[in-house]
């Protein structure tokens, strides 16, 4: 048995390459799944629960909830969510190319414990390196070749759980309405257990090294390490394995430091929330950020340089998100473009036509009214931005657009859907 990794866990020894031999050398073999199904389920339940593992896809809910909900189903489908719909995120690609077997180990222990019908690895149709990395890894696993790779469209919404399952079910990358929670999502009559790739990779480490080892990193409420993609105004953008509980300033230092001052940051992706210039000491964990009304989300931090215009950036983000609406629900299909128009006006011209109280009234009518949480994410982003950049917003209203509004964005957008 190899040593339990310490500082770096998921990304430990990744310089040896992603192959199966290097993987086994690095982490040792997975413990075998033994006993009758009730025993297997009880054992894995106990392990996941005591680890305190939170879903790494953005919701941050305990992974044990999903496991328990599916524990009684017959031959579920295990779906590995590597859709990476958030344009600023790269962690699925990093896991695929550096530790694909860890992700597959996590899927395998769930599949064996729950007698899964099949395992599906979902990779967006524009992410060929991720797909071929998983294809090569699956091919290496002689013991376990049941995983299939599926390629849903590369859209923001395509990785949303119900949209992903809907695509696997009938080829429509559209969220479904699930008014009761929790709710099953099914693929051709079989319940689906959808987990983010990182959640499964963490599970593979927990299965090997135990729950108390897992809790040696992170905080009580956010145990274990977390992958974070850091971008924007930092010298070394990329994916870091983060020890939750440290400050945003430490995270920025780990990403090479600030390039041009700190004007705030968007945390949790394009449906996440801004923190303001005063929040450099914010605690980077689920509970630390929720104390600020922000969210850790799927581990994304885009640093806003001090010279950047936050109003123009919000306008671009909301315009992009409006374009990524599936267009199924009125409040999202009409509400998000209306918000985007308001913000573009505010960003570009001296105007008394866009009042902050009207933006809030409009957001109140959008929040919570879609089948999925897409519009809610946009409302969260905009509410947080209006709160933290209120002085900049006021100066746009009084004096018109600032010079910085013309600067290119620091936010990555897919080339074909880049806002003005």
């Amino acid at each position: 048995m190899s040593q339990a990794p310490s500082e770096l866990r998921l990304l430990a020894g990744a310089n040896d390459g992603p192959g199966l031999a290097a993987h086994l050398n690095r982490f040792g073999p997975m413990p075998t799944v033994e006993g009758k199904r009730p025993e297997r389920v009880a054992r894995l339940h106990g392990l996941i629960e005591s680890s305190g593992l939170l879903g790494r896809g953005g919701s941050g809910v305990p992974a044990v909830w999903k496991f328990d909900f599916l524990a009684r189903t017959n031959k579920p489908v295990i779906v590995v969510n590597c859709m990476e719909g958030e344009p600023a995120s790269s962690k699925d690609a990093v896991l695929a190319t550096r530790a694909p077997h860890l992700v597959l180990d996590g899927a395998a222990i769930l599949a064996e414990t729950l007698h899964a019908a099949r395992v599906v690895v979902a990779v967006a149709d524009d992410a060929d390196p991720t797909a071929s990395a998983f294809a090569a890894a699956i091919d290496e696993r002689r013991d376990w070749r049941t995983a299939e790779i599926e390629r849903p469209p590369a859209r923001y919404i395509a990785g949303e759980e119900s949209a992903l399952v809907n695509w696997l079910h009938r080829g429509a990358s559209l969220p479904t309405f699930r008014p009761t929670k929790p709710s099953y999502v099914t693929i051709r009559g079989r319940e689906a257990l959808v987990h983010n790739a990182e959640t499964l990779a963490q599970l593979a480490l927990i299965a090997r090294f135990g729950a108390s080892w897992f809790r040696e990193a992170g905080t009580t409420a956010h145990p274990g390490t977390s992958l974070v993609t850091v971008r924007g105004g930092v010298h070394q953008p990329g994916v870091l394995e983060w020890n939750p509980g440290g400050s945003l300033e430490r995270l920025i230092d780990a990403a090479g430091g600030l390039t041009d001052g700190f004007g705030g940051a968007l945390i949790g992706g394009y449906g996440g929330s801004f923190v303001g210039p005063q929040h450099l000491q914010a605690t980077m964990s689920h509970e630390g950020l929720s104390a600020l009304g922000a969210t850790f989300g799927p581990g994304i931090v885009v640093v806003l340089p001090a010279s950047q215009c936050p109003v123009a950036e919000m306008a671009r983000l909301v315009r992009y998100m409006a374009g990524e609406s599936a267009g199924q629900c009125g409040p999202c299909a009409f509400g998000l473009p209306a918000l985007a128009r308001d913000l573009e006006l505010l960003a570009s011209a001296k105007t008394s036509h866009v009042r902050v109280d009207q933006l809030h009234a409009r957001m109140a009518e959008i929040d919570g009214r879609g089948a999925c949480r897409h519009p809610d994410g946009v409302v969260r982003l905009l509410r947080s931005g209006l709160a933290h950049f209120d002085q900049h917003v006021a100066s746009h209203q009084q004096r018109g657009a600032c010079a910085a509004a013309q600067q290119p964005t620091v936010f990555p957008f897919p080339a074909s859907r880049r806002p003005r």
Partner: protein, 64 residues
């Protein structure tokens, strides 16, 4: 008591519900219904009526 919800995917903003039950539902600026409050026993006939009236069958009573 059950919860009255709008299936936002089915709803196509015909607006019959708000026309028939303004005390329960208002329309947003794009014509889509917002359920304003929890329903009570006294609303039963009204709720049955608007559920039947919806041409998109977008109003649902959900047991939580």
């Amino acid at each position: 008591m059950k919860r009255l919800v709008v299936d936002p995917i089915r709803c196509d903003a015909f607006g019959y519900c708000a026309e028939l039950a303004p005390e329960l539902i208002h329309l947003d600026e794009w014509g889509y219904p917002v359920v304003e409050r929890a329903i009570t026993k006294g609303d039963r006939d009204l709720v049955t009526m608007i559920i039947k009236a919806c041409p998109r069958r977008a109003l649902l009573l959900i047991e939580d």
